[in-house]
């Protein structure tokens, strides 16, 4: 069964004036249909304002549908009875690490979630240790979060979600405020969670480079899913992506430019290794 199933999901932000009359309606999600299987690594791409963050907030019931419905682990998020179970099943990590860390010591911060759901103390200690080890932050457990770098803080935030033992983790632009080093660390941690713990990962980003390794990619625009497929299928259409001013990884872009200039490369090249191998083959084979 699909872990997440959205059916004709619509979300409208309604603005009202002082008397409560509707001033404007903005449709942030416009009949979104998708199914996400358990254990998948899913990426959602799109511009600011495309609806991707709104969608994320539906997965853990921070928002509920204006129309249509979304099932998370079989639970309808519109049903208030399930709100807490939904949030326990699907944990969320936000963009700005500074807004998510509340305690003055790293391990206390990670313990905050499990404490709130009433886990016994001895189990909390175990969960916190495991979670910090998973994201490679165990040796910082007694540090103050203030002195950590952005990437480290973000990994602590991920550990905080992991300590709740969710089935799914949603990351809303987790690397937007990080430097390249921090970005790589966070992505590595998330991929490991997915592979080793089989946690369903939903990564929301506008960095194309980060989605190359996902199982499936959705591209959103104006509240709709306008492209979906495996990363390779998505990046095949460089012109279409560029038309919609989406970013294409530099390597794919270079391959695309070379192809346009008549170099017989395959359709969609995602990694450096693929491009180099093909170019070597072409040169040695004397195809030009």
């Amino acid at each position: 069964m699909a872990f997440i199933k959205s059916k004709d999901l619509v979300h409208e932000y309604i603005r009202r004036d002082e008397e409560g009359n509707v001033e404007s309606i903005q449709t942030a999600l416009d009949h979104v249909n998708l199914n996400i299987e358990p254990g998948q690594f899913i990426s959602i791409l799109g511009h600011n304002g495309s609806g991707k963050s709104t969608f994320a907030k539906h997965i853990n019931a921070l928002l509920t549908p204006s129309e249509g419905m979304i099932l998370v682990d079989g639970m309808n998020t519109s049903d208030e009875e399930y709100t807490f179970s939904v949030r326990q099943a699907a944990g969320m990590v936000f963009q700005n690490p500074d807004n998510q860390i509340i305690a003055s010591v790293v391990d206390e911060d990670v313990a905050f979630g499990p404490e709130n759901i009433g886990i016994p103390t001895d189990q909390i200690i175990e969960r916190v240790e495991n979670a910090l080890k998973m994201v490679g932050m165990y040796k910082y457990k007694s540090h103050s979060p203030n002195k950590l770098s952005g990437g480290q803080k973000q990994r602590v935030a991920i550990a905080g979600v992991m300590a709740m033992e969710p089935k799914c983790i949603i990351l809303d632009e987790p690397t937007a405020m990080l430097d390249p080093d921090g970005r790589a660390d966070v992505l590595r941690a998330v991929h490991e969670l997915n592979k080793l713990k089989h946690i369903t990962v939903i990564l929301i980003t506008h960095y194309m480079e980060e989605v190359v390794d996902s199982d499936y990619v959705y591209v959103m625009e104006k509240g709709k899913i306008f492209m979906e497929g495996k990363p390779r299928e998505i990046f095949k259409d460089v012109e279409k992506l560029k038309e919609h001013s989406l970013d294409v990884p530099q390597v794919t872009l270079l391959a695309h430019e070379l192809k346009k200039a008549g170099v017989p490369l395959s359709d969609c090249i995602l990694t450096r290794q693929e491009l180099v191998d093909e170019l070597v083959k072409i040169k040695k084979g004397g195809q030009i």
Binding site: H47, N48, S149, M177, V276, L279, K283
Partner: protein, 287 residues
């Protein structure tokens, strides 16, 4: 002033936080460099490398614990030096500059700088109008509240506020942080266009190598409070292995070129943009 004269000189500048205490941290370590009129410079370095500290010395927001900074030949630490004038001459756009928008309308906000410079109302309006036009903010937003603008538009408005003071040096600290790819490209090409139109000196602080390689003429790489590389993008990215150890990376295409060379193909490895790489690979294949 003759072209290519030194606008800013840093002479053995060091900066220490909490000097003389147990918490002493050296943020800048004996930095000497010169910046020439009309240059477009990128300063890169990972978080904590001292790049923001460096640029804040250039307009006197931070005072060196050792060494001197010269603007147009004058020592800015001289007792009777006009610091206020320096700050209008060396304009600074901070990270997330949109957090500093505060007036009721965009136009009023942009006028604020020229107003503080003591210009007449008429000149303030003229300056604000020119600046908003330069950042290509559509006229319908001039009288809107800054909070009604989108992220990219807010950033343009904030940049206009600095441009309106007509600085001869413009410093931008991570001007694209938090923007999506389209917003990022818009802001960077805007900065580049303005640089061409105004011929001013631009210093761009960034940790995105690709951005920097695409636009600037000169790159200064900061690490542990010191400039470790200083040169054209191809010169600097030739050291991609060392850059990696500093937690930085060269543009992806630079890696491709190096991989090709390692695989025994006869390519130059100096490409730092997609188009340079394409041309070099085509040249190699056609040989």
């Amino acid at each position: 002033m003759a072209a290519n004269e030194n606008v800013l000189i840093m002479d053995h500048v060091s900066y220490k936080y909490s000097p003389g205490t147990a918490y002493e941290v050296t943020a800048l370590d004996d930095v000497s460099l010169t910046i020439k009129e009309g240059e477009f410079i990128g300063i890169i370095g990972h978080t904590g490398s001292g790049k923001s500290t460096l640029v804040q010395h250039l307009n006197g927001l931070m005072k060196a614990t050792e060494g001197h900074v010269y603007f147009n030949g004058q020592d800015i630490y001289d007792k009777d030096y006009n610091m206020k004038n320096l700050r209008t001459q060396v304009g600074m756009v901070f990270q997330y500059p949109e957090h500093q928008l505060f007036e009721t309308t965009v136009f009023e906000d942009v006028k604020f700088g020229p107003k503080n410079q003591g210009l007449s109302e008429e000149d303030q309006i003229k300056r604000a109008y020119e600046a908003l036009e330069l950042v290509k903010l559509p006229e319908e937003f001039f009288l809107a509240s800054p909070f009604e603008l989108s992220g990219g538009q807010k950033r343009r408005a904030a940049i206009a506020g600095v441009i309106a003071m007509k600085p001869s040096v413009l410093i931008l600290d991570e001007p694209t942080a938090g923007l999506d790819p389209k917003g990022r490209d818009d802001v960077l090409s805007l900065i580049s266009e303005m640089h061409e139109k105004r011929g001013d000196t631009v210093i761009l602080v960034s940790h995105s190598m690709e951005d920097v390689a695409n636009y600037v003429d000169r790159i200064i790489v900061m690490d542990t409070g010191k400039p470790v590389y200083d040169g054209t993008p191809s010169q600097v990215f030739a050291n991609y292995k060392e850059l990696e150890q500093m937690g930085l990376a060269a543009p992806a295409v630079t890696y491709v070129m190096n991989d090709l060379k390692d695989a025994g193909l006869d390519v130059a490895t100096t490409a730092t943009t997609v188009f340079e790489a394409r041309d070099e690979i085509l040249r190699m294949l056609n040989k």
